[in-house]
């Protein structure tokens, strides 16, 4: 799960990592109340599950209430890299001395965690020059290691003590919550040498969700995504107009890539899983029918053992039940493809042997719309 900033900060607070005082809101009236309570100037921040908010203007300082009202509306209605603002976090403006960077990150190839720290903070991690990286196994964190990291970024005395405390808390959090990433950027040093997490990002392991009922309140899945999940599908909603369905994550990604190369834009990524059955394809089409802006459907199934006629029957059922009212282009790999072509010729679905042909067809049909 990719937590929003305010959600990450809620967990930070649970672990004793201090964050600025702030409130989250979904409308301007609520926002104004909060800003007045916090006393202006305040910082307002779009809550979106994606990085790069600073550059997109999704974080703004407001000196007075007029500025607040203007900018609040802008932020509430904005998109950052196609992600709509979920809510707005209003926080007290905190003066600080210095910005640091700190994260604990799953190193997938070495199968360990990396602690990354830097005396530079507030910018994207890739642009850092002086970063310290420590590798450690998931069960090998200790005080000495925390001290080494603090030494590495040349913190001394009280700042070092406070940093070590925060690092230990962050590590505890990563292990407890089964996080792939916990990042504080920036972690700021205040005048009194205390440290404060000005921003927060936590990504937890979705596969461990069953052990973390306490995290479920943070789940931001849309109704359609939940529906997909119940059926054992993976769904990612995108901003184009062609719904892409296939079996197997790699195959669907590959289909999306070829579609994009052909100038098509995907409305969604829908993986029905390794096998394909009449029921799974029918359910997938049901889900697609609930997605807005879909002008065409592209299906790429590698059947293996599955007969293409099975899938063809699912498509015909969906067509007869009026689930589909847009153009459908399908590449169905498996046995009985000739028979499937004949079956599908009776309805408005076009079947092809190669994914390239299926894509050419659907993209040119969409252009006619």
């Amino acid at each position: 799960m990719r937590l929003l900033e305010y959600q990450a900060k809620e967990i930070f607070s649970e672990y004793g990592i201090k964050t600025p005082l702030g409130f989250v809101s979904n409308n301007i009236q609520e926002g104004i109340k909060q800003a007045t309570q916090l006393k202006l100037p305040v910082i307002i921040k779009a809550q979106v599950p994606i990085g790069g908010r600073g550059k997109s203007g999704a974080i703004q300082k407001c000196n007075d209430i007029d500025e607040f009202m203007l900018k609040y509306d802008q932020i509430l209605n904005m998109k950052v890299k196609n992600e709509k603002t979920r809510s707005v976090l209003t926080e007290k403006l905190i003066p600080y001395e210095k910005e640091l960077y700190l994260s604990i990150f799953l190193n997938r190839s070495k199968r360990c965690y990396n602690i990354i720290a830097s005396l530079q903070g507030g910018i994207e991690i890739e642009s850092f020059k002086n970063q310290i990286i420590h590798e450690m196994e998931f069960d090998s964190f200790n005080n000495d290691l925390a001290l080494q990291v603090a030494d590495g970024i040349k913190l001394v005395e009280k700042q070092q003590d406070n940093f070590v405390l925060i690092l230990k808390k962050l590590f505890r959090l990563v292990i407890d919550k089964e996080a792939e990433l916990a990042e504080i950027n920036p972690l700021v040093i205040l005048k009194d040498n205390n440290l404060l997490a000005l921003d927060g990002k936590i990504i937890t392991d979705d596969n461990a969700n069953f052990r973390h009922p306490e995290l479920q309140k943070f789940n931001q899945k849309t109704t359609i995504e939940r529906k997909a999940e119940e059926n054992g599908f993976s769904l990612v909603e995108l901003d184009g107009d062609i719904a892409v369905i296939g079996n197997g994550a790699g195959l669907v990604m590959s289909t999306l890539d070829i579609l994009t190369d052909h100038g098509g834009k995907a409305a969604c990524f829908l993986d029905v899983g390794g096998g394909a059955t009449i029921d799974s394809v029918y359910e997938a089409l049901k889900i697609i029918s609930k997605i807005k802006n879909v002008k065409g459907i592209l299906i790429n199934l590698y059947g293996g053992i599955v007969k293409t006629t099975t899938v063809a029957h699912a498509l015909i059922k969906a067509y007869n039940n009026k689930l589909i009212n847009v153009r459908v282009s399908a590449r169905l790999k498996g046995t009985e493809s000739q028979k499937s072509k004949e079956l599908l010729a009776t309805i408005n679905i076009n079947m092809f042997d190669s994914v390239e042909d299926a894509i050419n067809f659907i993209t040119s049909e969409i252009k006619k719309c």
Partner: protein, 302 residues
């Protein structure tokens, strides 16, 4: 490093040459029983099954045991194929490793990262290898099938396929088979963030196999396994042809694309980073699956 061909095929002197015995963990489940039948039909020598609580019963004439310890004691098998709900994976893996299993094929999807890491640490200590989780398995055409892959795409031959994706492993194998090539082995790495056997490990397992003409690497966005493999290929100055494909070029950042591991954070895990490293290592990257047999044919002529 585990000698994968020795464990899966053996040598002519072995009395079980090309007939290595295999235990199925979770043999009575819906998925496990279906694929056990398919594996037997392909000729895989399944000698025992394990389902806790169902010991002393049989499935398709195969003895079922409650624990791996009993199953291994009775059969002396070194290989297990695992079918169980993801939350029971760790327990089952511990049972298998403790019993002396040296190759675990972990089929379940949705295994928590922490559980894989614990199982992996234990496997290393006991010199066992885990393939997966979230893998379709391993196949050596006409010799042994360990997993859930369909059999039609695979023909005996001299090309190794290493793939993070299941369906793309079938698709690529099918495409090269149609072009007159075949596979000497196909290994499903799995689509999770933490793989028991990462690309570089799988590469090292097969790179010196005598019957190898070339390798097809099917990668995807997420992590840096492709980059590390590319660096390794350069470091050891590997000479046999390698061609590759990377799925997910058009995927948005910070979105999990079906596989738990298929996610890009900034540059980490991006297709650009992987393609760049493959280019550096002189490994051609196909833009789409249908280019794979063409690139392979080109490289093999050199």
């Amino acid at each position: 490093m585990l000698d994968i061909f020795d464990i899966l095929v053996g040598t002519r002197e072995d009395n079980d040459y090309k007939n290595k015995s295999v235990i199925i963990q979770g043999i009575t489940g819906k998925f496990g029983s279906l694929h056990t039948k398919n594996m037997i039909a392909y000729g895989t020598n399944i000698v025992a099954g394990v389902t806790p609580g169902k010991g002393e019963t049989k499935f398709e004439n195969i003895n079922i045991y409650d624990t791996m310890r009993e199953a291994v004691r009775s059969t002396n098998s070194k290989i297990s194929v695992m079918f169980m709900p993801a939350k029971f994976f760790l327990e089952a893996a511990e049972d298998a490793i403790n019993a002396g299993i040296k190759l675990l094929i972990a089929i379940p999807e949705h295994v928590p990262i922490k559980d894989t890491m614990i199982a992996l640490k234990m496997a290393r200590k006991n010199k066992a290898a885990i393939i997966g989780p979230n893998t379709p398995g391993i196949i050596i055409p006409d010799v042994i099938k360990l997993g859930i892959m369909p059999t039609t795409p695979f023909k005996p031959g001299n090309i190794a396929i290493l793939s993070k994706s299941g369906t793309l492993m079938y698709e690529m194998s099918d495409k090269i088979s149609q072009h007159g090539f075949g596979q000497n082995i196909a290994i499903g790495i799995g689509g999770d963030p933490i793989n028991g056997t990462i690309l570089i490990d799988a590469f090292d397992m097969i790179k010196d196999s005598p019957k190898l003409d070339g390798i097809v690497v099917v990668g995807e966005i997420g992590g840096d396994a492709e980059e590390i493999l590319a660096q390794h290929v350069m470091d050891i100055n590997y000479k046999k042809p390698i061609i590759s494909y990377i799925a997910g070029r058009s995927a948005p950042k910070e979105k999990r694309m079906g596989h738990a591991g298929a996610i890009v954070y900034g540059e980490y895990g991006s297709a650009e980073s992987k393609i760049k490293m493959f280019n550096n290592a002189n490994i051609p990257v196909a833009k789409k699956p249908s280019e794979i047999p063409i690139l392979l044919a080109q490289r093999l002529k050199i």
